[in-house]
C-alpha cells in the first residue's frame, strides 16, 4: 500500500466542518482555545470534541431505550369494544399473517434491524478506534457512512402511529391511541442520529499514522 502524506492536523491545518475552508491552526492548538472559521464562523476542532466518550454514552443510552421500545406496546386499537395493543414486532407479525409480507418486511427492517444494525456498527467502530486497529479503514469509513444514511428511515413507525391516531378516532366504533413504547422508540431514533453525528470518522484514519511516529 502506498504511504499517504500526513493528514491535515499534522500539518497544523484544520478544515472547516461547515464551509471546508482550510484554516491554519494556532501553535499548540489543543482544543482549549475556541477558534472560529474566518469565513463562516463555525467553531473549529481538529477532531470532534470528546467524540469517543460522547458516542459511547449515546450508544449505551440508545441500547437501554431499545429494550422498552420493543417490549412495550406502541399503540392500542379499540374497535367495537375490543382492545388490542401492538408492539413493533406484533405489528409486523400482524401484517405478515394478513399476507402483506413486503410491508411486514419493510417495517421489521426499518424499526428492528436498522436501529440495532446502527448501534452494532457504531460499537464496532468505537472499539476498533480504541484498539488502534489498522484493518480496512476504507471499509470502516464506508460502514460509518451507512449508519449516517439509514438512521432516519426508522422514523417510519412513529409516523405510521401518528397518522393512524389522527385518522382513526370514531368514538366507540374505532379509536387508536399512541402508547409509551412509541416514546422510547422515538428516543432511540433521535439518540442514534446524534450518536452518528458525534462519532468522528477521521479517528479511524488517525490510527494509521500513529504507527509511523
Amino acid at each position: 500500500m502506498k504511504p499517504w502524506p500526513p493528514s491535515a492536523v499534522r500539518q497544523s491545518l484544520i478544515g472547516c466542518p461547515s464551509c471546508e475552508l482550510l484554516c491554519k491552526a494556532p501553535a499548540r492548538f489543543d482544543g482549549q482555545i475556541r477558534m472560529r472559521c474566518p469565513r463562516c464562523g463555525a467553531v473549529l476542532h481538529t477532531r470532534k470534541p470528546n467524540s469517543l466518550a460522547r458516542t459511547w454514552a449515546l450508544v449505551i443510552a440508545a441500547l437501554i431505550f431499545y429494550i422498552p421500545a420493543n417490549m412495550l406496546p406502541i399503540m392500542t386499537v379499540t374497535s367495537l369494544g375490543k382492545t388490542q395493543s401492538d408492539t413493533i414486532l406484533s405489528g409486523a407479525a400482524y401484517l405478515l399473517l394478513h399476507g402483506m409480507w413486503p410491508l411486514a418486511l419493510l417495517i421489521f427492517f426499518a424499526s428492528v434491524v436498522v436501529p440495532l444494525l446502527k448501534l452494532v456498527i457504531l460499537i464496532y467502530l468505537l472499539i476498533s478506534v480504541q484498539l488502534h486497529s489498522r484493518w480496512r479503514p476504507r471499509d470502516r469509513t464506508r460502514l460509518y457512512r451507512i449508519t449516517e444514511a439509514i438512521g432516519r428511515w426508522s422514523m417510519v413507525d412513529i409516523y405510521v402511529v401518528t397518522i393512524l391516531v389522527a385518522l382513526v378516532h370514531l368514538g366507540n366504533l374505532a379509536t387508536i391511541r399512541a402508547e409509551t413504547g412509541a416514546v422510547f422508540f422515538g428516543a432511540v431514533v433521535v439518540i442514534t442520529i446524534f450518536a452518528a453525528l458525534t462519532f468522528d470518522p477521521r479517528l479511524i484514519w488517525d490510527s494509521l499514522e500513529k504507527n509511523h511516529e
Partner: protein
C-alpha cells in the same frame, strides 16, 4: 471556481488539491472514497426554482387534508397538523414535538431560509448574515424527514385498507410531488457556490 483550492477530506483528514469534478460526476477522496465535490450545472438557479416550487407545495400539503377515513358512514379527515395535535391531546407531547419538528418546522424553515439566501444572490446582492443562515441550513439537513413521512402515509394506507375506506386528499398529491422537489433541490445545491459569496478577511 479556483482550480487550486486546497482542502482536507472531512472523513479522513487527507490534505489534497480539490480537482474539479468531471461533468455529471463527482470528485472523491483518493484515500477513503468520500464524495468531496459533485458537478452541478446552474446550481443556484435550479435550487432557487425548486425551493420556490417546494414552498408552494408545502403550503398546499399543510392546508388540505391528505387522507380521509370512512367507516360505517362516519368520516374523519386528517391534515399533517392534526396528527400532531391528536398526539398532544393523548398526553404524548414528546412524540408530538418530534413529529412537529421533523415534518413541519424543519422543512418550513429550510425552504424559507433557502429562499432567503438564494433570492438576493439571484438579484446580485449578498443576503445579511449569509454565513450563519447557511450554516443553520446545513445543521438542519439530517432532521428534515419528509420522505420518511411519505413512506409512513403509504404504510398507513395499506394497514387501514382492510378496515375501512381510505380516500386520498388533495394534500396527498402535493406531498408526493414535494418529496421529489425536495430531493431535486438538495441534489441541485452546490454549497461551494454559496460559500464563494461570503466575504471575509483570511
Amino acid at each position: 471556481m479556483n482550480q487550486q483550492t486546497r482542502i482536507t477530506c472531512h472523513e479522513c483528514d487527507l490534505l489534497q488539491q480539490l480537482k474539479p469534478p468531471p461533468p455529471g460526476g463527482c470528485t472523491r477522496c483518493p484515500r477513503c472514497g468520500a464524495v468531496l465535490h459533485r458537478s452541478k450545472r446552474n446550481s443556484l438557479n435550479r435550487t432557487l426554482a425548486l425551493s420556490l416550487a417546494g414552498l408552494i407545495l408545502f403550503i398546499i400539503a399543510n392546508t388540505f387534508p391528505f387522507l380521509a377515513f370512512e367507516m360505517q358512514g362516519q368520516i374523519t379527515e386528517t391534515q399533517l397538523f392534526t396528527g400532531v395535535t391528536d398526539l398532544y391531546h393523548q398526553g404524548m407531547w414528546g412524540l408530538a414535538a418530534l413529529v412537529l419538528f421533523t415534518t413541519i418546522i424543519v422543512p418550513a424553515v429550510q425552504l424559507t431560509l433557502m429562499l432567503y439566501v438564494l433570492v438576493p444572490i439571484k438579484l446580485g446582492r449578498t443576503p445579511g448574515h449569509l454565513a450563519g443562515v447557511f450554516r443553520l441550513l446545513q445543521t438542519l439537513t439530517p432532521w428534515g424527514m419528509m420522505e420518511v413521512f411519505m413512506l409512513g402515509i403509504l404504510v398507513s394506507v395499506v394497514k387501514l385498507a382492510g378496515m375501512a375506506t381510505i380516500v386520498p386528499g388533495l394534500a396527498l398529491w402535493a406531498f408526493g410531488l414535494l418529496i421529489f422537489v425536495l430531493a431535486a433541490a438538495a441534489a441541485a445545491l452546490d454549497p461551494h457556490r454559496v460559500w464563494e459569496k461570503v466575504r471575509y478577511a483570511p
